[in-house]
């Protein structure tokens, strides 16, 4: 072994420490970067050279810069992100629906029903009093308006959800495009033996964002490229290629969009009912299940109210002798377009006979009694009871979504903690590394200085 060889060994130590310090500083700099995985410079001896009495070492080298990840935890985090997205969308949407249905226990449709039937009773106790009749018509109009407004508000919420779905589809496409770009860069680097650590971190972050939107599964190939599947195995990303989701308006669903998959042959595969998790699932459930169901119940309530009140009203006689009149407009049997048909309080058919006018109140009593009648059309419930059950139903869906979200938040935090255990940067650890590298660097430079002195000594022999 020559003295110059010792220079080389010293130099390898200097380089290794430098590289180690740069990895350490990279870690420190990224201590709070989301999705960053701690890197580690893996040191290895350089190949020895033959000599006498045996092989002699040639120093150190950084064999690789390794990224510390636990792929099982990463996978669990992806699943957790899907659930978080789904529950979060469900929670905020359901809270809005519940708010539209029942602004408080003293306002809204429930109170509107109470006021309407109270006004009917006032007519029954004062059948000849025009004021009571006018009040009844105005209370009925208020009730109809509240039903209209609630239906309109729910429709508005559906449209708003649809807009969000369209935006999320755009986001999915942007994410898959970026992931495919990163795939290409990672593949290019790793095929030549490089470790594309930071690019992998970036891609991991994007996959997390994608999972938040839609349920995905991933497979990684030998050169580090991931294939991303959605729905029933539809490929969103394959190597450097990405495939788009497209929102196609569905005339059968009021022009709201279906989510279709475009494998290159146009948007033909419908994924709407196949998407199983992620924010899109939460949004789709709200738009196509929860809100339409609530609206359907509201429509059942309205149509029953209209038909029951009208049938009873037609049997009676108004102050002006009118009979066989509809109280509510017969065409408006949905919450959206229910309306009061009577324009004149005198037409309210309080009397059961033509001759009993104006004091006969039997028909008004019968109308008022509808409030407490169990109706087959409402599955044996009263108007108020049916509405109460509807509100409770939506309320408990919102409550479960809220609890699911809270629970998933905790699960997610625990998973993040487990990820941090492996991949997180510990400043203390890095500082220790830093001191180590500093010392190693100092020692290696000492070796070079010493070797240099030895060389000087050798050279001075000649004089």
């Amino acid at each position: 072994m020559s003295l110059t060889g010792i220079f080389d060994i010293g130099k390898s130590g200097l380089f290794a420490s430098q590289k180690g310090l740069s990895v350490t500083s990279h870690n420190i700099a990224n201590v709070h970067t989301p999705g960053y995985a701690r890197q580690e410079a893996v040191l290895a001896e350089r190949g020895p050279v033959d000599g006498h009495p045996g092989q002699v070492g040639t120093g150190v080298e950084v064999a690789q810069i390794r990224r510390q990840v636990n792929s099982f935890v990463e996978q669990s985090l992806l699943n957790s992100r899907e659930l978080l997205g789904r529950f979060d969308a469900a929670r905020s949407g359901l809270l809005q629906v519940a708010g539209a249905l029942a602004p408080s226990t003293e306002l809204g449709i429930a109170a509107g029903l109470n006021d309407f039937f109270q006004a009917l009773q006032d007519v029954s106790t004062n059948p000849a009093d025009p004021t009571a009749r006018t009040v009844l018509l105005s209370k009925a109009t208020t009730l109809a308006n509240r039903l209209n407004q609630t239906a309109v508000e729910m429709d508005r919420q559906r449209v708003q959800l649809d807009t969000e779905i369209r935006q999320r589809i755009v986001e999915v496409n942007a994410l898959t495009a970026k992931i495919s770009e990163l795939n290409q860069q990672i593949g290019g680097a790793e095929v030549s033996g490089q470790q594309a650590n930071d690019l992998r971190d970036q891609r991991g972050r994007l996959l997390g964002d994608l999972a938040n939107l839609i349920d995905i599964s991933t497979i990684e190939d030998q050169i580090g490229q991931v294939t991303v599947f959605a729905g029933r195995g539809q490929v969103l990303v394959a190597g450097a290629q990405s495939f788009r989701l497209v929102g196609v308006p569905n005339p059968g669903n009021g022009g709201l969009v279906d989510i279709r998959y475009d494998s290159g042959a146009g948007p033909v595969t419908d994924l709407t009912s196949v998407i199983d998790s992620g924010r899109l699932k939460g949004l789709l459930d709200l738009r196509d299940q929860e809100i339409p169901n609530a609206l359907a119940s509201l429509d059942t309530l309205t149509s029953t109210l209209v038909s029951q009140v009208n049938a009873r009203h037609q049997a009676g006689f108004g102050l002006d002798g009118s009979t066989n009149l509809n109280f509510f407009a017969p065409a408006g049997t949905t919450a959206r377009d229910v309306a009061v048909a009577l324009a004149d309080g005198r037409q309210v058919a309080a009397s059961s006979t033509a001759s009993g006018v104006p004091g006969n109140n039997l028909n008004a009593l019968a109308l008022a009694a509808l409030q407490t009648t169990s109706l087959a059309a409402l599955s044996g419930a009263t108007f108020g009871g049916y509405f109460g059950a509807l509100v409770s139903g939506v309320g408990s869906s919102a409550q479960s979504a809220e609890r699911d979200l809270e629970a998933q938040d905790i699960v997610h935090e625990q998973l993040e903690a487990r990820r941090a255990e492996v991949s997180g940067v510990s400043l203390d650890e890095e500082l220790v590394n830093m001191i180590q590298q500093q010392r190693a660097f100092q020692a290696a430079s000492k070796v070079i200085v010493t070797a240099d002195e030895m060389l000087q000594t050798l050279l001075s022999l000649k004089r």
Binding site: A98, A110, N361, S392, V425
Partner: protein
């Protein structure tokens, strides 16, 4: 176990967030005084409160109905009391006129007074409340009794009665048609007074005698109806007491279901404040234990 810095921060921020949201919930309860203000907070309680509010609105409406019915029945009772005393006065006059010592001229004078009293009874029978006749059956928009020629009084009303709702499926009659108290069912007191008037003016002793008997029957008829009204008023009063009780009870139940338990909310708020302070204190200590502090 390795403890990474992001882990500590993540844990602390997570806990800070949760503590803050619990504090917010407690503050919301304290400021609204309501435990349940949205269906999602307690769907079952919310549904119950809706039902209870509906029930309460019915109970209060029944209370209004009872009040209205009582006013009517009490007015009818007062009018019938007066009718009864007028009839008694007519009878006294008739008894006075029966005496053989009374001259035909005096009988004429008595007849004049009886005629005035008859007009008064017609007025009583035409009593109204809020412009609605109370003895005309359901024909409330016209005077039930009309005075015609020859002191004849005819009934214009009908025989229908009116009942009001005072409970679930419970109605109470609040209207007595004139046909059941003035012109029937046993005697038509207007006809009897007219006959008496005729007898008085015709100086017809036996006719006056008959009239006296008829007045007794008329008073009995009116008194019977008064008894009936007394029974109805009684039922209304009992109902009112029951409704008041239900209203109070419902208010209590609603309050139990939706109102905040203030003591509990305040305790919860204090607990969360303590937790928040502890978390914040921990956060400030994290830096003190870092190796950074010792590297110069």
């Amino acid at each position: 176990m390795r403890v990474a810095d992001s882990q500590i921060m993540g844990l602390l921020t997570g806990n800070l967030g949760r503590t803050r949201s619990r504090m917010f919930a407690a503050q919301e309860q304290l400021s609204t005084q309501k435990r349940v203000s949205q269906p999602s907070q307690d769907p079952v309680a919310y549904g119950q409160v809706l039902e209870e509010r509906a029930e309460q609105s019915r109970v209060r409406q029944w209370g209004r109905n009872v009040l209205f019915g009582s006013q009517r029945l009490e007015l009818a009772d007062r009018m019938l009391s007066q009718t009864s005393s007028v009839l008694t006065r007519i009878k006294e006059l008739a008894v006075q006129a029966r005496s053989d010592t009374v001259s035909p001229e005096n009988r004429q004078a008595i007849a004049q007074e009886v005629r005035q009293l008859q007009r008064h009874v017609v007025q009583l029978a035409n009593s109204e409340i809020n412009g609605q006749a109370i003895f005309g059956g359901t024909r409330t928009d016209a005077a039930p009794y009309v005075l015609g020629a020859g002191d004849t009084v005819t009934y214009q009303g009908n025989t229908e009665t009116q009942s009001i709702a005072v409970g679930e499926g419970v109605t109470i009659q609040v209207l007595i048609p004139g046909g059941e108290v003035f012109s029937g069912p046993t005697v038509n007191l207007f006809d009897d007074i007219r006959d008496l008037l005729t007898a008085l003016e015709a100086n017809d002793g036996p006719g006056i005698e008959t009239g006296i008997g008829r007045m007794d029957q008329a008073v009995a008829q009116v008194t019977t109806v008064q008894g009936q009204i007394g029974g109805l008023v009684n039922r209304l009063e009992t109902t009112q007491a029951w409704l008041d009780q239900s209203d109070t009870l419902l208010s209590q139940t609603i309050s139990e279901n939706e109102d905040a338990d203030l003591a509990r909310a305040i305790t919860e708020l204090r607990l969360q404040e303590v937790a928040l302070e502890a978390t914040q204190a921990t956060l400030s200590r994290v830096f003190e234990t870092s190796l950074l502090k010792f590297l110069r």
